[in-house]
Subunit: 519 residues, 2 copies
């Protein structure tokens, strides 16, 4: 399953039809999309060979001596028994090296997640990095309304914003939790929104195995049943119930996806000090044990199904027990976990733009930047929570989304590294200008004017006087205007009307099949 | 001049005398000071051997073909002529490799800058990182007053705040520009404030050679004339007038310091696109040429005088020409310049907590964090602008200072890397807790309670409800309270009254020697 030769494609415009559309195109800003990142800068590491071996040995010890709980999923117990593990009740203890060898035998090192627009397909693994938006918050926050429960309208808004953000490569999953829809049916409208309102790849429902099955059915309507037999079009988030528990809901969803050839991100959800030891090395050993047991299970369900080594790394405040973000310890865990994942040989997910702050203030930004930069530097392949995360994941922030998306653009530029071509070396410019002059108008500067530096969409770099004259706005106030303008300018990507009808028919049928329920 | 064996000393409390002082000590928070950083995490790099060689060759080409202007400093021209350079007017062209060989022959790889409190002395170079506060702004900003011109009272306040900040290791220099004092005398009160109000190492005046000489005289009063003959107690900032010009003021100050055995930071001040080409590789070649010519000049003035490879790396907005900060391009320049400085073999300075934002908002924090983390990762030895920088260096921010100082603490923790001791591995905790439980009360957590995680002084990690109840404050509002409380709690470190009298007598004499002037 080598996909390394598949490079990302750049595309500055999208196909549109009709005179009206052409007129609209002239009036509205062109929709620029960056391809997923192919990292040119060196990886950043924190552990040497001896440290990595120590962590791996400790993970083996945990798997052998303590074992992992597999709850409410008898088939997993049977599969592990057959594979040679020691199964007592719901506790599985693993012979040394068994989960690793199962993973390395069949799990792909990288895979393509196809989007309905082939130009938006992404490679997950290797030297590629894919940014996806925030996942999971039940609340939203914006400057106009403050904080309130999220609705399906908010969900659609965040899908639209992600679709329009040049360096968000993936539409994500639960961009916010639409609590105005019944729990047992909302996944239908969520998945439909991703398909209808965006053409980027998306994530599937994992809150129940049958909802995962619905996601697969909808994907078949879009991509064709045959295509899914050999291709991956859904990547979904399978969280461990740390410490050392996989539950039936998550395993059941993973089973549905794996058997349909779709990808799972097996992710220990760690607030160190609560779900893992207070130390980085202890946390890493536990994380590795959990990932090894979970990812290997995906291979028992279906050898060859794509599976990602995930870790959500945070700590708690020792005073209050509250989760903290953007602090040094999770950075160390993320960087080391990336090294461990590379040695295991499957794609890696961590980080994003995490913060504890309730509002898009300096705390939010420091914490997010201190999470995001190491996320890129670690060589993370799939980055959930790339934009919009606020309040420890309790709120999706509209302004925060815009600010973070700008930072993702900066990461995209940073990952290109230093241009050492003749134009990059710019000796001609230095010769032309000489001592005591300036480069503002020299021919090299003019030739590189359009692409010279990353242009932030949100930063104010104007003079103090101009900033005063424009109302002394802070970044959040500027971001507020940007997301509103983007939603005004939004235009849905084309979708084959027959597919749309079939999807809507599927939604109607599934909604009619059971009464609304919030369980 | 090997000082590698001199490790930093930790100190949790300071000596005090008398019952009153002891009572005060009980009421006020203990003054904790962290030693300078000794980096345990791997260096982050962006260029390979071939890239580095390309930059070095291009710098040699610039030095040979274009040359560097040395203005208003005839002695430098004479010294370079004698050293074998091609001097025509004020333009010096250098035989290939000459500046490098002069530097490598005598400039120390690292040095100790002594503080009047020996526990606060810092090692500059090698695996050490020293954080100093913001340098240069003519304005201050705080939430109460907005932005206004800085005064000597502000200067004293920032010296006090730096003194009380655990991870600011150095008192810095022009923490703000006290524009209420005459230009030709303000340096006296500035240097005196650093000595009197702090016991951390400090920087000297560079605005005129005679002001540098005043700084040296004051240092002799504090440390003794004999001590200065063989020790460094001042590190000062010598900016190039980029592109490719050294001016007489800066060279004159450097000459005074070098001949007194004191350290200079030779720093190209670069807004790429204005003072250097718009590309990173072009900027790096020019920076290296400027540093080589400047640092070698320090060695011609006085072989063995400590000299630092500095680079202030920023870009301009191609739309407005305004400087931008926290963008990807300066990050690449800083990381690569650090590699180049290590190959040259002298200490390195770059970065800090730079931003373009006028206020301590999300923009300020994103930009500062995106500058600071790479600064640490580059292995930067001396970090100016570590705390307080706002508005492209036009304003020293009180709240920004507090926020940044907290981030410096995080960098200090990050630099320690992952603890792989038995306690760090924490297998006992994982064994004790087991699957499905939590680590909150386990004995390993309790044993590590005090030191487990970095504790932010400014982040709010409380529940949403508690945050609401406490008035929905953002980070800037919390920082506002913190700096005010710190200034209230401030107590000056002890200073020998005889030294203090001698300093004040020197100030009086020098102030009386000439009329006030703002030139």
């Amino acid at each position: 399953m080598s996909v390394a030769e598949t490079g990302p494609k750049d595309s500055g415009r999208r196909a549109r039809g009709g005179a009206d559309a052409r007129r609209a195109q002239r009036q509205k800003p062109k929709l620029v999309q960056n391809p997923y990142i192919v990292r040119k800068i060196p990886l950043v590491t924190v552990l040497d060979e001896e440290g990595l071996t120590t962590i791996e040995n400790n993970a083996d010890t945990i798997l052998q001596e303590i074992g992992i709980e597999f709850r409410d999923e008898p088939e997993a117990l049977e599969l592990w028994k057959a594979a040679g593990a020691d199964v007592k009740g719901t506790r599985i203890r693993f012979p040394k090296g068994l989960p690793r060898s199962i993973i390395q035998k069949s799990a792909p090192r990288e895979y393509i997640q196809h989007a309905r627009n082939p130009e938006r397909s992404v490679r997950i693994g290797g030297d590629a990095t894919v940014f996806a938006p925030v996942y999971g918050p039940p609340f939203i926050r914006n400057l106009d309304e403050g904080r309130r429960y999220a609705t399906i309208e908010d969900f659609r808004n965040f899908v639209k914003l992600a679709y329009m953000s040049p360096s968000i490569h993936h539409s994500g999953g639960t961009v916010c939790e639409p609590v105005d829809l019944p729990v047992n049916k909302r996944h239908l409208d969520m998945v439909y929104s991703h398909i209808k309102l965006s053409d980027k790849p998306f994530m599937g429902s994992v809150t129940a195995p049958e909802r995962a099955a619905d996601t697969v059915e909808m994907a078949k309507i879009v991509f064709g049943e045959k295509f899914l037999e050999t291709n991956t079009v859904i990547t979904s988030l399978i969280n461990a119930n740390s410490p050392m528990v996989w539950d039936g809901t998550m395993l059941g969803a993973m089973k549905v996806y794996a058997r349909a050839n779709q990808a799972s991100i097996t992710t220990p959800f760690i607030l160190a000090g609560a779900m893992s030891p207070v130390t980085a090395a202890g946390t890493l050993a536990q994380v590795l044990a959990e990932v090894l047991s979970g990812a290997a299970t995906s291979q028992l369900y279906k050898p060859g199904a794509p599976v990602i080594f995930g870790v959500f790394a945070s700590s708690i405040s020792m005073q209050s027990g509250a989760p903290t973000f953007g602090t040094p310890e999770p950075t160390l865990v993320s960087l080391a976990a990336a090294q461990i994942a590379r040695r295991l040989g499957i794609p890696f997910r961590t980080g994003g733009s995490l913060c504890a702050s309730k509002v898009p203030d300096a705390q939010a930004a420091y914490e997010s930047a201190q999470t995001l930069l190491p996320t890129l530097q670690a060589g993370t392949n799939f980055v959930l929570h790339g934009a919009g995360w606020l309040e420890g994941g309790l709120a999706s922030g509209y302004e925060k989304f815009i600010m973070d998306a700008d930072q993702l653009g900066m990461m995209q530029t940073l990952a290109k590294g230093i241009d050492l071509t003749e134009n990059g070396q710019a000796l001609s410019a230095i010769r032309e200008v000489g001592p005591g002059s300036h480069f503002l108008g020299c021919s090299h500067t003019q030739a590189n004017f359009e692409t010279a530096f990353y242009r932030s969409s949100i930063a104010d770099n104007n003079s103090f006087e101009q900033w005063l004259a424009e109302g002394e706005q802070d970044a959040a106030q500027r971001a507020n205007k940007i997301w509103k303008r983007m939603l005004q300018d939004y235009e849905a990507p084309a979708l084959d009307p027959a597919i749309d009808e079939a999807l809507l028919a599927f939604l109607a049928k599934r909604k009619a099949a059971a009464p609304d329920s919030n369980v």
